[in-house]
């Protein structure tokens, strides 16, 4: 069936099986491979995308359920050639190692920072508890989110 939704700000239509995973439609049909598959069962967060502004595991969403929704993937976070502040912070503070979990962490952190621009460490850990990293031990990821610059600080760089 034809599924229409907004993807990274642009109207999108794709022909897909209704119960196809949003993850597969994004990666295979729409060629947005920034969203990763880790576990495929909602445990690891590697496939996190924003649906209407909320962080969701795209492996658990049948594509039929995003009709009319706003979907944002890691590819849609940068604006006008500038990285999203949390992406820049991951670069500046070594928040990525092998990189497979990174898009999921970045998207989950973007949701957190949108509702709480200055989260404390416990809030960051709770917001990112659904994202697993098998390389780093998390501290540099937490640090990257904690040290993400506000919009004003970013503009002053």
């Amino acid at each position: 069936m034809k599924i229409q939704f907004e993807l990274n700000g642009a109207p999108t239509a794709v022909e897909a099986t209704p119960m196809a995973r949003l993850l597969d439609v994004l990666r295979e049909d729409l060629r947005l491979t920034g969203t990763k598959e880790g576990c495929g069962e909602g445990e690891c967060g590697a496939c996190t995308v924003l649906i209407d502004g909320r962080a969701i595991n795209s492996c658990l969403v049948p594509v039929v359920q995003v009709r009319g929704a706003k979907v944002q993937t890691v590819e849609g976070l940068a604006r006008d050639g500038r990285l999203h502040p949390v992406q820049q912070a991951f670069v500046d503070h070594g928040g990525a190692q092998c990189g497979i979990c990174t898009p999921g962490f970045v998207v989950a952190a973007a949701e957190l920072l949108a509702r709480d621009p200055q989260p404390d460490a416990i809030t960051i850990r709770e917001a990112l508890a659904g994202n697993l990293c098998r390389c780093t031990g998390y501290q540099k990821i937490i640090d990257s989110v904690a040290r993400t610059l506000s919009g004003d600080e970013e503009a002053a760089r």
């Binding site: 119960m19 658990l60 709770e126 659904g130």
Partner: protein
Amino acid sequence: MMTSAAPVHTPADLADALALRAAHPAAWLLAGGTDIMVYLEAHAIDPPAFIDLWGLPELRGVDSRGDHIRVGACADYTTLIDDPAVRAHLPPLVEAARTVGARQIQNRGTIGGNIANASPAGDTMPVLLALDAVLELQSAARGLRAVPLADFYTGYKRTVMAPDELIAAVRIPKPAKADRLHFRKVGTRLAQSISKVVLGGRLRLDGDTVTEARLGWGSVAATPVRSPKAEAALVGQALSPSTIEAAVAALDGDITPIDDVRSTAGYRVRVAGRILRSWLESLRG
């Protein structure tokens, strides 16, 4: 990955959903998908069709109505966590919702889905049992019937829900001011963890005498259960050390845990007793 080719019926409103439910009794109801998509990926289910309830606003709201709060079946956990009335009146439900998976699951999983999935390990049901929650079951043929959650489960993954019914809402009585409420989940870690034992508790005290006791449990039987023997050991008694020990001893007759991948029956019996004792002792002040 092998995608289910099953058709998805998308009702326009609740009446349409009930008509579809009656016309397609073998179809599975789809809400947030956080269980169904896992089952599909594991090839554990192969439904002929789905009825998608996710987009129905009638199933979404949280309303504070006099003596109870009515939660739409498709309210997600984040909505519960953020809702002012739920936070004010039902703090253990907020605590339970915060232990479901992690943020990504809380943003998508629904209270009605948790109840209908009927896992003995569901995180919200022990609290809902302790709060005397009542389900609104609806069908096109018979309209609304109210079923206490305590009467909903008949066996492992089995419920009294008829093939033409769906859960429309959960009515949760507001606890009395004097009620002591409790939620405790024991798992391997804080997030993304399926429970080994869950306790939801509500105790009404008159002075130090227990006048009402509700203990709801998860992962200690084939279904979420109350523990009537332990409750009976408390009611009418002063909350003394001997009363507490009597309730903990009675609990053995209420629960029938099993050995599984997450824990053992022996561990569960011991830990269930300990978290009950620990809560009751904390109430002695």
